[in-house]
């Protein structure tokens, strides 16, 4: 039977998990109100359980002590009994759908930030600063060690009393337990440092205290690293020794294994591998741990599709697979496998929008699924068919917003036509996918292509919709998602012209789409610092160009998230791309066969010049508004009703009688935002059509 390996139940401790798929612990950020789980939190996990996920481990870095930094990621607070009734709601919600739920508990020690909320003094075995959060800490005292051990036990008790199925002790990501383990952080010479047994002592005392508190009929697992990837850090062999040491106590019900440490920007990127990584890049590390332990092993990291998951499980590398981002993209992944609808699974593309928001202290959202973590607002993962009138819906634009609008309208049972000027769907996603190591972003488009075909949407590709063609269809609703064009005309000094022969600058779109050939010596000016600038730099360097990328912002790629800029930097540095900040593109002029770019320092006003053969400018998008203004006066409604939109309620005009069509516009043709914004607007506008 296909996917049979996924659907083998497994015993973890005394708990039966219905299948082998786990949503592993991550900080939800939207999770809590003062450390207490919210309705939003409960609904987020309930959806996964409803969708068939076997085990959810919630609450990445949920704190056991009041001095573990909590505020930045809005972690769940297990340092107080107030959490117990909140857990009961959470447990009931998941259990009623046959799922199981545990929570990760930890003391983060020196990790995260101290400058907020209770302004905690961070703690670490030897007071050594953590690079990734720029945080300093004190050296932990003996009394504090014993207090925190007790806090772990109390936190576990609260989880148990709240009806959760277990706790996962975090000894990964350089939290306090593995800070004690790691000789590069633990320089102590007392009983808590030095020898292997001494470095293991804190974790062991935590494990003993927790097990003593909760007894045998409650799952206690440990999440550990497979290899810190630091020359002076814990190696894979060290980790095997550690895992075997704890496993031998018989007190650990499972091990979760994460490849790579994460206390530098570069190692952090390994932990949640983005689309530049191969599938399951660190599986071998988890398999190595499985070799030496008797407890079941869970491994996540770039396991995104059911075939891959089956292959890993069939190979016996690990006992359970973490498909965490896969569930953020599609919480109904398991149900769709069971329904024989594998093609309908919205597969994670590794854009890491979710985790990159988390590292900015923002709620975890999915780039391509606007319903995720908005279940509490009534945004649906499964669009119900409308019971109202069948409408003729015309969508203009086949980018993410337009595709989502067409999908949602078609799921509602309407007759949908989609116009796209290009020969293929995708819009800016198609351009973004041209960059090296960014091809998987096109997975967003691929899913929509399959869905729109399944839903029999009338696709008019290669067809630019004009007013007449559109009104010919006698639409009831027109959705404009026409996007925009690169905004190169903002400063006349740049020498942009619509005539490509005359224009002194080209856009990143021109470069990535292959519309203009790569130059040999290229200056990229990037005013936006999102993906497009660094993607163009990587693309041009890949084609053999000498590239300098200049920005007037903090640094090139400054707006690319924490798990993705490192992979760009690895590539750009390797290709000797020069990255320069604080310079504004002042002027471009032609000199002989070449071009001269005049750059002006933001802070001193001094100018410098570059002689190049191609100047690429990334200055964002200018909305394409022509069609909107041509149709606006004829439409029945007056644009989007914001109150309804923000409340995710039906647009009031949908229930009003009248002649003519309703007009909505969304995505970049309103104002340039991002993929998620376009898809979110499309979903919340169209879900009530």
């Amino acid at each position: 039977m296909a996917f049979d390996a996924i659907f083998q139940p497994i015993e973890i401790g005394k708990l039966t998990i219905r299948n082998r798929v786990v949503s592993t612990a991550h900080a939800e950020v939207h999770a809590t109100d003062g450390g207490m789980t919210t309705d939003r939190y409960v609904k987020y996990y309930e959806e996964k359980a409803k969708g068939g996920c076997g085990l959810c481990i919630c609450g990445g870095s949920s704190i056991v002590s009041i001095d573990s930094p909590q505020g930045w990621w809005s972690s769940v607070n297990l340092s107080t009994d107030r959490i117990i009734p909140h857990f009961q709601n959470l447990a009931d919600a998941v259990h009623q759908h046959g799922g199981k739920i545990m929570i990760q508990i930890t003391h983060m020690g020196r990790r995260s930030r101290w400058d907020g909320f209770d302004w905690p003094t961070l703690l670490s075995p030897s007071g050594i600063r953590e690079p990734v959060h720029r945080s300093t800490c004190k050296t932990i005292e003996e009394e504090e060690i014993w207090r925190i051990i007790g806090d772990f036990a109390q936190a576990a008790r609260r989880a148990k009393e709240g009806g959760l199925d277990g706790v996962e002790l975090s000894a990964v990501h350089q939290h306090l337990i593995d800070q004690f383990w790691s000789p590069r952080v633990n320089k102590r010479t007392d009983q808590w440092g030095g020898s292997f047994e001494n470095r293991m002592r804190f974790g062991m005392e935590v494990l003993k205290a927790v097990r003593a508190e909760v007894g045998d009929d409650f799952v206690v697992g440990m999440r550990i690293c497979g290899d810190e990837f630091h020359p002076d850090g814990l190696s894979h062999d060290d980790m095997k020794q550690i895992a075997a040491y704890y496993d031998a106590t018989g007190k650990v019900d499972f091990f979760g294994v994460v490849g790579s440490g994460c206390d530098t920007h570069d190692t952090l990127a390994n932990v949640i591998p983005n689309m530049s990584y191969p599938p399951e890049p660190f599986l071998h590390l988890a398999a190595g741990i499985k070799e030496v332990v008797s407890a079941p092993v869970i491994h996540a990291q770039n396991i995104k599709d059911p075939n891959q998951a089956s292959r890993i499980l069939e190979g016996g590398y690990v006992d359970l697979v973490g498909m965490t981002r896969a569930h953020i993209a599609d919480p109904h992944l398991i149900a769709k496998i069971k329904m024989g609808q594998v093609d309908q699974i919205k597969q994670c593309v590794g854009a890491n929008y979710c985790i990159d928001r988390q590292y900015q202290g923002l709620d975890v959202l999915c780039i391509q699924n606007a319903a995720t973590s908005r279940e509490y607002m009534g945004l649906p993962h499964i669009i119900e068919k409308s019971e109202g009138p069948k409408r003729k819906v015309v969508v203009v634009g086949g980018g993410p917003g337009g595709m989502e609008a067409a999908r949602v309208a078609a799921e509602r049972g309407h007759d949908v036509t989609l116009f796209e000027a290009a020969e293929a769907l995708g819009g800016q996603i198609t351009i973004a996918a041209q960059a090296p190591q960014r091809d998987q972003i096109a997975g967003i488009t691929r899913w929509y292509q399959l869905e729109l075909a399944r839903l029999n949407v009338d696709l008019r590709l290669g067809t630019r919709a004009d007013e007449a063609a559109l009104l010919d269809l006698r639409p009831d609703v027109v959705v404009l998602a026409t996007g925009g064009q690169p905004f190169l005309s903002q400063f006349p000094e740049w020498g942009y012209s619509e005539n490509p022969e005359e224009s002194l600058v080209v856009s990143t779109w021109d470069v990535l789409s292959g519309k203009v050939a790569p130059g040999k010596n290229v200056l990229i000016f990037d005013a936006i610092c999102e993906f497009s600038g660094v993607s163009a730099a990587d693309y041009l360097a890949d084609k053999g160009a000498k590239v300098e990328i200049v920005t007037d912002d903090i640094k090139p790629g400054a707006a690319v998230g924490g798990t993705t800029f490192p992979t760009y930097y690895r590539s750009l540095y390797q290709k000797e791309v020069i990255m320069t900040s604080d310079l504004m593109l002042h002027k471009v002029y032609r000199e002989g066969d070449g071009l001269v770019a005049v750059l002006e320092n933001e802070y001193t006003g001094t100018q410098e010049e570059r002689v190049v053969d191609q100047v690429v400018v990334e200055n964002g998008v200018r909305p394409d508004e022509a069609l909107y203004y041509a149709l606006k006066a004829q439409s029945r409604n007056n644009g989007v009703d914001l109150e309804a939109l923000y409340a995710a309620k039906a647009q009031p005009c949908l229930s009003e009688e009248g002649e003519g069509f309703l007009l909505f516009r969304l995505g970049d043709c309103t104002a340039p935002r991002n993929t998620h914004a376009a898809i979110y607007d499309a979903l919340r506008i169209c879900k009530d059509f």
Partner: protein, 673 residues
């Protein structure tokens, strides 16, 4: 002159017929013994003929009237003819002359009937055999007309001396010749292998039928067990004489009407099976010879034209299926059958095609080990793992890991034993099972499952001819069931339902009555609804048709409960042309998907075309096998859902639900996108 000639003709015809009958009976008696209540059968025969057989024939009103007139006329005319013209009791002094008039009336009636037979033969449908059958209407007319004419002087309509004198001599001779033709066909032919053989063999077949329970409206569909302990008995049927004598008699009763051919899904799919031809092949075999005289449509074969007629031959004691080359029947003919029983249900002679096919399969599987396609693998799986898919027998409950189902081993007794079937290993059927669990819990039914103690019911093994594996599975299941107390078994699998309900009884030890009753889930759900234990939200979906699973409908007569459940859901079923007892098989029974004999098209495709013709957007089913077959159809216009799923989706809380006592089970729900 005729007074002398007629008795001679009549009695010599009868004498020759008796010799023919003796020879024919000896052919049948080549078969193995079979316990038959001879006298009781003969006494019951007229009623079986006039009521049970006529009930089947009457599905075609015109043909039924034609047959009543012709056959009724003939029987009356033949008896009266013997009295009037054979014994000379025709003169007015004898019985007051009435018998002559009656004979006139009978022969006239028969003549009218034969006109309709003739009309039918003018453009006969493909299913009817030609050959000697084409002359039958003329023979009927010859008999009836000549009898009528020779009787006219007897009753005095024509003067007594009409047929005397020289001119009349010639007329009398012509009449006598026509009568000889008529007598030849109707009396001599009846026992010497002419078309009229059906009347003689048919009457005796009805008297000595191997499933006497079928008469009087009964249903007898369970396969009969093979005695595996008898060292003398061959395992299954290798040669025609390995059939029991009354089976051979049954084959000989075939009237070649081709109703079986018209309803056979394998035939329609162009697979090499034509049930009529198969029965005729058996007739060839019991008498010895080749099939060259067969005049109906042949066994289809992949490609064009069908298997050529005349190349197969056999003898009563020679093999039916050759190990190499050709004998009477090719193996792929036997393996094309889906055991859907459409032929049996349709046969006016109540011939048991499926029994015969399984008997022959038994030999091929048990003695030769020649089960084609995936058959051998499936049987190996059943032997090794107790399930046809070869799944880990300990994983039968994996689909329910989160449902906390009570196990019989723990509870020991319960109201309902939920029999899972091998669909428990199939992801599609697991959805049906989960839906059924949800329904049972909503109705607060006390139930439990055997879990890993359950084994395959043995259905597939038995129909693939592996009686040994069937009996091994069945006996172990029976032993397991015997450990527990429950009121009834409920299952969503009609195959398990049939085997547990109709075939286990014979194995439970002699004379032991069934300890339990078995219900198909649609029947049980209908009962729960009628008892007010379920309430449904109004149906909001599109139009729906219903596909009758063979093993629920034809095998067990349950046509109403599924329709009642759909009605309770607020669904008005758009019936397919072939529904109810005439439902077309999905192609999934009898191990047919396992042996996978190629044809020109697929049976489930044809069935989904039937669905499409109704315009339904959804076809409701009640069988895991049907679901799998119909869902496997590419580009189907309708969705396939089990009745349990439709019910589970429509569940709403009962307005006056009594407070549940016991522990409330969580209603485990998954999204169905």
């Amino acid at each position: 002159m005729l007074e002398i000639l007629l008795p001679i003709l009549i009695f010599s015809a009868l004498a020759v017929a008796v010799i023919g009958a003796v020879r024919r009976i000896r052919l049948w008696r080549q078969g193995r013994p079979s316990k038959v209540a001879i006298l009781r059968g003969l006494v019951a025969m007229p009623r079986r003929y006039l009521v049970d057989l006529h009930h089947v024939v009457a599905r075609d009103k015109a043909m039924s009237n034609t047959h009543v007139a012709t056959a009724g006329g003939f029987v009356a005319a033949a008896v009266l003819m013997i009295l009037v013209h054979g014994f000379g009791l025709g003169s007015s002094e004898g019985l007051g002359g009435i018998q002559g008039w009656l004979l006139l009336a009978a022969s006239a009636c028969m003549f009218v009937g034969s006109l309709f037979v003739a009309r039918r033969r003018r453009n006969p449908p493909a299913r009817l055999s030609r050959g000697p059958w084409m002359r039958l209407p003329k023979s009927l007319m010859a008999f009836s007309l000549s009898v009528f004419l020779i009787t006219l002087p007897t009753v005095g309509v024509l003067p007594e001396g009409f047929l005397q004198g020289t001119g009349s001599w010639i007329l009398a001779l012509v009449l006598a010749a026509v009568l000889v033709w008529g007598l030849g066909e109707m009396v001599f032919g009846m026992t010497w292998g002419g078309p009229m053989k059906h009347a003689f063999a048919g009457a005796l077949h009805l008297a000595f039928h191997r499933r006497a329970e079928r008469f009087g409206g009964g249903r007898s569909t369970g396969l009969k067990a093979l005695d595996l302990e008898d060292p003398e008995a061959r395992l299954g049927v290798e040669t025609p004489s390995d059939f029991t004598w009354n089976q051979l008699l049954g084959f000989d009763a075939c009237v070649q009407c081709g109703r079986c051919e018209a309803v056979c899904p394998a035939f329609a799919a162009g697979q090499p099976l034509n049930p009529k031809k198969l029965i005729q092949d058996m007739v060839v075999g019991l008498a010895g010879g080749s099939d060259a005289a067969y005049a109906g449509s042949p066994h289809p074969s992949q490609g064009l034209g069908g298997k050529p007629v005349g190349e197969h031959r056999g003898t009563p004691h020679g093999p039916i299926v050759a190990r190499e080359g050709k004998a009477l029947v090719d193996a792929d003919t036997l393996w094309s059958c889906t055991t859907c029983r459409a032929c049996v249900e349709e046969c006016p002679m109540m011939i048991e095609h499926v029994d015969a096919i399984v008997d022959m399969r038994r030999f091929l599987t048990l003695e030769h080990g020649n089960t084609p396609g995936k058959g051998a693998e499936v049987l190996d799986n059943l032997i090794a793992t107790d399930n046809p898919g070869g799944f880990d027998p300990g994983s039968r409950l994996h689909w329910a890991a989160d449902l906390d189902l009570p196990l019989m081993a723990d509870v020991k007794q319960t109201e309902v034993l939920l029999w899972l079937g091998d669909g428990a290993f199939d992801m599609r059927n697991q959805r049906t099972l989960r839906a059924l669990v949800k329904v049972l819990r909503a109705a607060e039914v006390e139930f439990a499952v055997l879990g890993n103690e359950e084994r395959d019911s043995g259905d597939v093994a038995r129909r693939l001819g592996d009686e040994a594996t069937f009996q091994s599975l069945a006996k172990r299941n029976i032993a397991t069931l015997a450990q527990y107390r429950f009121q009834r078994i409920v299952t969503c699998d009609p195959h398990s339902f049939h085997v547990l309900g109709n075939e286990y009884g014979e194995l439970g030890g002699p004379g032991t009555p069934a300890r339990y009753e078995v219900r198909h889930h649609s029947t049980f759900i209908a009962e729960l609804y009628d008892a007010g234990r379920l309430a449904f939200a109004p149906w909001k979906g599109g139009s729906v048709t219903y596909h009758d699973p063979c093993y629920l409908g034809r095998y067990n007569g349950e046509f109403d409960a599924p329709r009642n459940v759909l009605k309770a859901l607020g669904i008005e079923v758009k019936e397919m042309e072939r529904s109810g007892f005439r439902s077309r098989c999905c192609g999934g029974g009898g191990g047919a998907p396992i042996t996978d004999i190629p044809g020109e098209r697929r049976i489930p495709d044809m069935r989904m075309n039937d669905v499409e013709e109704t315009g339904a957007e959804l076809v409701a089913v009640g069988c895991p096998q049907c679901t799998a077959m119909l869902e496997g159809v590419v580009d189907a216009t309708a969705e396939v859902r089990d009745i349990a799923e439709l019910v589970a989706d429509a569940l709403v809380e009962r307005p006056t639900a009594p407070k549940s006592t016991g522990v409330q089970q969580p209603a485990v729900e998954e999204v169905t996108p």
